[in-house]
Each structure stands twice: as structure tokens, then as C-alpha cells.
């Protein structure tokens, strides 16, 4: 920068000119700095622009755009989750940096906190029991009735205070489903190395245990049905296929809130049943 050619007109007062030149350089530098400081965070748009598969957010999350707007990226929801289901987005999530999401396959939300602790912890209302009135509720996102948590079905207040689902379970790979193949299942659902936790009320009403510590032995695989924490969200139904053969298949019902336990326990790799985040009831 210092080796620039002198201006063509001989300077009247070199000292002043040099000062002016330095000022102009500084102005240009400052403009570049401002452009970079504004340009880099705007790259945060790219994940949204590329239409990434929506991430599953914790229960009570506002709709995606409102969620990203209202989340203050503090991770208090992460700290209260008893099964550590909640993770925070990294910088490759763009504006989703520091924003909580759930990867159901590795650790689903099993509601073993009973009260949806993450909603209680959220300081900004990004996770909330009750949406502010000015925010619309998407059709099919609202649950018909407050979902009943099987673990506290006999309590005075058996419901989870959730108004909307965060997603829906979908049998995306029906051919992989063990029940549809008429197969049973024996052993740890996801193998002995799997780190995921799940609450089994029959074992301990209050404490989730490693899924690998709870082996199954069933004549016909119904792991998704027997581990589902929500009443009436999923069942095995008989179906007659196009081939005329009768078989049992998991069917997801309206109470499903998209917690992801079925995706976590599903034995085949990759899972036959997964949560589609933001999917609404009645949506194709």
C-alpha cells in the first residue's frame, strides 16, 4: 500500500497530501470492513435458501421462522433435558447457530421429564405451551386433544400441556419394517453399543435407562408401539396388501406429537419409521 505512485500533478503541499491519502485509504478499508462484517452473517441465509430438510425442534417450538427469530441461543433447554436429546446447531446451520434441535435416531425426546422442562426453561418463549395470539397455528399442527402421557395416565393431570405437534411419525421404509415382514425381535433394540436413553415405567417410573439395558423378546416386532410414550399415537393394524397377503403394519394416529421414540427404537438400519419434522396431520 505504501509503494503507490505519487499523483500525476506535483503536490503543492506533500504533507497534507499524504495525510489525505491515508485518510482515503482508511475510508476504503473501513468500507471493506463494514461490507465483510455484514456479508458474512448474511451467509446464514444459505441453509434456509437451499431448503434444507427441516430439523426436528424440541416440543413447544414455534414455527421454524418464528423459532429462529425468538430463540436467544442460550441452551437452557439443553441443560434441563434428562435424556440429553437436545443439541445446538453449529455455524453451518446459518441463522440456526446455537438453536436447539433433536436428532431422534440418536436420542429421542421421551418426555421422561413429564412436564416438558425445556419449555419451562426457555427465557424467550421460543419454546412455549401457549403461542402468542398473533402467531397463526398451521392446520394439522394443532393436536385435537391434549396428548396423554402414558407414564402419568393415572395421575390427576395425565396430559402434556402441548397444543401443537413438532412433526409426525411416518413409515417411510415399509419394506424394512420387521412387523410387515412378520418377523419378531430379540435383543437390544439398537445393539449393545447404542447410547440412547429411554424411560420404561415398568422398570423405573422416574428415571430413564439406557435402551441397551432393556432387551426385548417379541414374537412379532412392535417396538415402536410398545415404547411410544403417548396414548393412542401408534398401533399395529392388520392390512391386506395388493398382493392379497394379510400382514400387521404400524399405523400412526392423530395424537402423535412427533417425539421420535419410534424412530430411535426401530431396529433396522436405517429406521423404517422416522419423524418428519413440521409435518402436519392430514398432510400427504
Amino acid at each position: 500500500m505504501t509503494s503507490e505512485n505519487p499523483p500525476p500533478v506535483p503536490p503543492v503541499h506533500p504533507a497534507i497530501n499524504r495525510k489525505r491519502l491515508e485518510e482515503r485509504r482508511r475510508f476504503l478499508r473501513t468500507a471493506v470492513l463494514a461490507a465483510v462484517a455484514l456479508g458474512v452473517p448474511l451467509l446464514g441465509f444459505t441453509p434456509a435458501a437451499r431448503g434444507w430438510t427441516p430439523l426436528l425442534r424440541p416440543p413447544g417450538a414455534l414455527d421454524e421462522h418464528d423459532f429462529l427469530a425468538s430463540c436467544i441461543k442460550c441452551g437452557q433447554c439443553v441443560q434441563v433435558c434428562p435424556v440429553a436429546a437436545i443439541k445446538l446447531g453449529d455455524i453451518d446451520h446459518g441463522f440456526g447457530i446455537g438453536v436447539p434441535y433433536i436428532d431422534s435416531r440418536s436420542q429421542a425426546c421421551d418426555f421422561s421429564c413429564d412436564a416438558v422442562q425445556c419449555i419451562l426453561a426457555c427465557p424467550t418463549g421460543a419454546l412455549s405451551y401457549k403461542k402468542p395470539l398473533f402467531l397463526p397455528v398451521r392446520k394439522g399442527a394443532a393436536v385435537a386433544n391434549p396428548p396423554i402421557l402414558l407414564a402419568k395416565e393415572k395421575d390427576a393431570e395425565p396430559t402434556l400441556n402441548l397444543k401443537e405437534r413438532t412433526g409426525l411419525a411416518v413409515l417411510v421404509r415399509p419394506d424394512a419394517c420387521l412387523a410387515r415382514q412378520g418377523k419378531g425381535f430379540k435383543g437390544a433394540a439398537r445393539g449393545s453399543e447404542f447410547k440412547g436413553m429411554l424411560r420404561f415405567t415398568a422398570v423405573d417410573r422416574w428415571k430413564p435407562i439406557p435402551l441397551s439395558d432393556h432387551p426385548f423378546d417379541v414374537a412379532l416386532c412392535d417396538l415402536c408401539v410398545r415404547t411410544c410414550p403417548i396414548k393412542g399415537a401408534i398401533s399395529l393394524e392388520e392390512e391386506v396388501g395388493n398382493d392379497g397377503i394379510k400382514r400387521k403394519t404400524p399405523v400412526v394416529h392423530e395424537p402423535c406429537v412427533g417425539c421420535g421414540v419410534c424412530e430411535m427404537v426401530c431396529p433396522p438400519e436405517p429406521a423404517a419409521i422416522v419423524i418428519e419434522a413440521r409435518k402436519t396431520w392430514g398432510e400427504a
Binding site: P41, S70, C71, K73, Q79, G98, P123, T124, G125
Partner: protein, 321 residues
Amino acid sequence: MSKYSESLAILLGREPRKPEKFSESAQKIHELKRVEKVDWVAQKEHARAHRAQGQPWRNRRWAFLIAINLLFVVSFWLDIQILEGALTASRLLGFHMIDVNSALQVMLAHKHIINNLIIGTGTVVVLWLLFGGRTFCSWVCPYHLVAEWAEKLHVYLAEKKIVTDHTFHRGVRTVLWIVFAAMAWITGYTVFETISPTGILSRALIYGPGLALGWVALLLAFEIFYSRRGWCRYVCPIGLTYGFVGAFSPLRVKYDLNHCFHEGDCRKVCEVPHVLEIVKKGRASAEILDTGADCTRCGACVDVCPSGALKFDVKGLTKLL
């Protein structure tokens, strides 16, 4: 009031100006300092010979900064729940504490404010009103600490003539602050949080490292090789927000013209040297002045001042005692 408008103008990016009016006592001191040349040098040498050693304020500050960030970490890792959350928003023993700048971005993006957000932000505003606004920067922000180490390296390399410091117009921080606020409002995303090294580092400490640390490394490289303390001086909107909060704070670094030999050691170590223009010879408009809103109350000048002209002070309280 003119004192505050001057301090805010400097905070927003205007260069400090020579004062038009001097108090009578200040004028007298300036005159005396011009006259007594011989004694002056002797006194200067005497002060230097007897100066306090070490950097007590830096040590206290580092200890506090590390302790508070560690408290976040252990609250989660050991589940002792004293200070839950991250620097953007937390609960101290259950009480909401919400970073003022983060809250502002969320409020602008979401356009809806719940009670907890108001309570948490209000608490933090009062806290930093009492303790000096940008005190947050030097006493709490984890990026400040690593930037200090980067600064040491920059100064070392600059002495070896390997790098030179490139300055910017300080007004750019004000422009960026406004544009970041506008972007949050218009896009509905908390755009600034994507690159905030304060949030990134705080979360990395508590929840584990990630790719975002690469961005922090880039910022540090920029500060080491191109512009001394570039992020904190010219960009960070958090600093400006807290600058406003602390503009009227009673906790300040007090400058006493009587004790000053105008050698400028303080300006060499200062993150925001424009707040110390008042220590230049003939510039102080009054006997006692404070360093103004942009001062981070880091105490580096207090540590380095050989003659005790710069000291921490709580307005009113010191008089009372």
C-alpha cells in the same frame, strides 16, 4: 450534560476534540506544568522510580472473567445449577439474566416480548448501569480474553516490524449496530448472532466445541496480523450497546490532572485509546475527569500509570467515605 453528550459522541465514533473551555483550576495546572521544567523531570523520574509493580487489576479481572465463565461450565457439567444457560441468556440461582444486545436482536426479529425477557434484560441493564456498561466486555466476555492474548502477539510482531496496525473509522461500529438492528427487524432472523464470537465462545465452553470456532480463529488472525483489537474496537455491537448502558454509570476510571506527567503509557495499553485523549498535555478541561462511555473499565491504564493519575472510582461513594 455537555460532558455526557461529548462522551456519547466519542462512543459513536467522533474523534475527541480539544476542549473550548477550561476550568480555572485546570488552566492553572496546565500553566504551572509549562513553567517548572527542571522540577518536572525530577518529579517524573521520582514517580517512575516509586511506581507500583505488577498488574493487579489485570489479575483480578482475568480471575473474575475466568471464574464467571467457569461457573457457567460447571453449573452444567456438575449439574450444580448456579448459573445456567450461556452468556446470551442465563439464570443466576433461578433469576433471569439476559444479554442486552441479544435481547434486542430477538425483540427486533420476533417483534414479541414476553415477561421473562423483560425481567432478564432489565436486571442486566441495572447491573451494568451500576458497574459501568462496557465492564461486561473486559470483565465477562470470553472473546475479550483471547483477544487480549492475540493483542500481545500483535504488539510483539509490530515491534519486530512484521505487522502494522491498520486503523478504521470508529464510526463504522455505529453504522454496523444500526444495520444489524435493521436486518433483525427486516429479515426476522437474529443475523448478528451468527457471527457473534461472544455467543460462539460461551456456547463452545459450555456445550462443547464446533465448527463455529473456526470463525473465532479467523477473527483472531485478523486482529493479530491486520488490525489491533479490530473486532472489539470497530465492529462489535455488543460493546456499543453496553457503552450506552454504562454512559451514566457511577463506576469509572477517574483522571486526576494534578498527578499526570503526560507520558502516554496509558494510551499505549488502552483498548479504546480515544477515551484517554484527555491525558494529553493541555487537553484536560478540568482537574478531575472520567474516561467516558466507551471505556471498558479494564484497568490496564490504572495498572500502568506510574503516578496514580488514573484510578478506579465510584462517583459519590468515594466522597462519602
